[in-house]
Symmetry: C2
């Protein structure tokens, strides 16, 4: 008996749930639609029911659960187990999600934000495995972040730390959705990459992307990377802007928590080595000459499952740490 | 019995040594010239003798020492207790300083770099007291840094972390001594502040500082702040450049380890509120609007003694943590 960890990854559209053994190997997983408009009671009830069904399918029961990990978008008071509010789930206001889940599942609930949970997944069993210090970036619509320093997640004084997309690399630079100017997110997220390309085309730049913009009325970062692969010069220039912004941010993190490995995740890593090699190029071009640095820059390896694996791994870590103290 | 902690602060010119009780109150302190040219054996022997003399003067002996803390400039392998080399002490190469001091003083030796030690001093009993997350900057010839996250110093994977002066805030900007371009140190250290003023004067800027440059052949950051106090416009502009660079770096740290308090130390804080208020001004102007932030930005309070207090406090902390684990 025993030895089962549940990982739950809550998104605006879907909730993913996975069961893991003590080696953090996936036993079984599923995905349900979030239906956030039904309100927190119904959503959380459905999560719990789905977890129970998964257990039953695997020949397990609630008694086998050691701990449950759950990741949601912020803002929340993670250590208190409360979702404060959520852009994608307007009915979720001051929801004591840990208490509610604990009442249904009986096991300790470990709660953190989605980026931290995915970061922990990569740290525990993915691209960050085997070192004690990593920095993690998710490159999507925005840029999320996570930091593991000396084997623990960095949360910060109000649990708002590691918002790495909002480090300023160009004071008074491009406007960011957060209200600041010059954030790395304003240059290097998927949205910003597409926007910089669109602006260049509207400014008269020559590119095979022009046809896409004319036909579809918009371009995405995927278009940029597709045309990069085909050798388009503008796509190369835009990618270099993205890669350089990310490289500068990597250097800044090296001078902060000094990670051994920097892991990029999110939709944009589909761009592959053409993006990764340019990040490494600009990193090497801009890094100091004082000391030889041995940081590795790489892509995440867990893909879509990072959230559920990370949640389960964090539940295990927290449970083991708590037991070693008490 | 016992209850005495020794704090040692090694600089290129002087070594400061202090005795502290368990409340980290200073019992007695002294300062000796480093005489680094005599080589490590003689210097370390002198440190140990001086500590013994201090103990004797206070009616104490070696048996009363619980632990010794020591801070030196890097680079070193702190966890192994070895100074790799030192710009100011060329004869110090691969010196096992912890082993050598331990053989003389008999107590456990806790070793860290000078900025971390001063940071820990402010954290334990100075401007950072009472919170669990601080960021610390020393504004001198260069800019040093320290980070306390969740009650522990951040060292990084190779013990080179928290080199906060070398975070890049202007990619391809002003050249820094470290080899990078656009570091905060290249704008906001005492040297860079003076250099920016000198460049402006050489470029023809009107200022009461012109006379100082003509008469002395150079100006210092002290001159800049003196003329700022007297209302000089160029001095105000240069100070704003310094303050804005520091403010951007504060924002970046808020998005990284999210400190509750940011503490500035070093010679340049003699500029007083005229500098501090401008840092706060630019911080508020550039910080995001997403969440209300409650970080406090302030000056250090321990002055010259931060090194010995910090070393003693770190020795106490490390000793207590070790004992609570074993």
């Amino acid at each position: 008996m025993g030895g089962t960890y549940v990982g739950i990854d809550v998104g605006g559209t879907n909730v993913k749930i996975g069961l893991f053994n003590t080696e953090l190997e996936l036993i079984r997983k599923t995905s349900i639609t979030t239906e956030a408009e039904m309100g927190p009671e119904i959503v959380i009830d459905k999560m719990a029911k789905t977890a129970e069904d998964l257990l039953a399918e695997a020949g397990l029961s609630l008694q086998d659960i050691v701990a449950v990990g759950i990741g949601t978008p912020g803002p929340a008071r993670y250590s208190e187990g409360v979702i404060i509010r959520s852009t994608n789930m307007p009915k979720f206001k001051n929801v004591p999600i840990c208490k509610m889940l604990n009442e249904r599942l009986g096991a300790p609930i470990v709660f953190d934000n989605d980026a931290n949970v995915a970061c922990w997944g990569e740290y525990a069993v993915g691209a960050g495995k085997g070192v004690k210090d990593i920095v993690f970036f998710t490159l999507g619509t925005g840029i999320g972040g996570g930091i593991v320093s000396n084997g623990e997640l960095v949360h910060g004084c109000d649990e708002n730390g590691a918002e790495l997309g909002h480090m300023i690399i160009h004071p008074d630079g491009r406007k960011c959705n957060c209200g600041q100017k010059g954030c790395v997110e304003a240059y290097a997220s998927a949205d910003s990459t597409a926007r910089r390309a669109t602006e260049a085309l509207e400014g008269g730049a020559e590119s095979s992307l022009k046809k896409v913009l004319d036909e579809k009325g918009r371009i995405t970062s995927k278009d940029v990377y597709k045309h990069l692969a085909a050798g388009d010069e503008l796509a190369k220039e835009i990618t270099d802007g993205t890669a350089k912004a990310l490289a500068i941010t990597c250097i800044n993190m090296l001078h902060t928590t000094e990670p051994k490995r920097i892991v990029f995740a999110g939709g944009m890593i589909a761009a592959g080595d053409k993006l990764l090699n340019r990040i490494k190029h600009f990193f090497n071009e801009h890094i100091w000459t004082l000391k030889k640095e041995t940081v590795e820059i790489c892509f995440a390896t867990l893909g879509e499952d990072a959230g559920i694996i990370g949640a389960a791994a964090l539940a295990q870590h927290t449970e083991q740490r708590t037991n070693s103290i008490t």
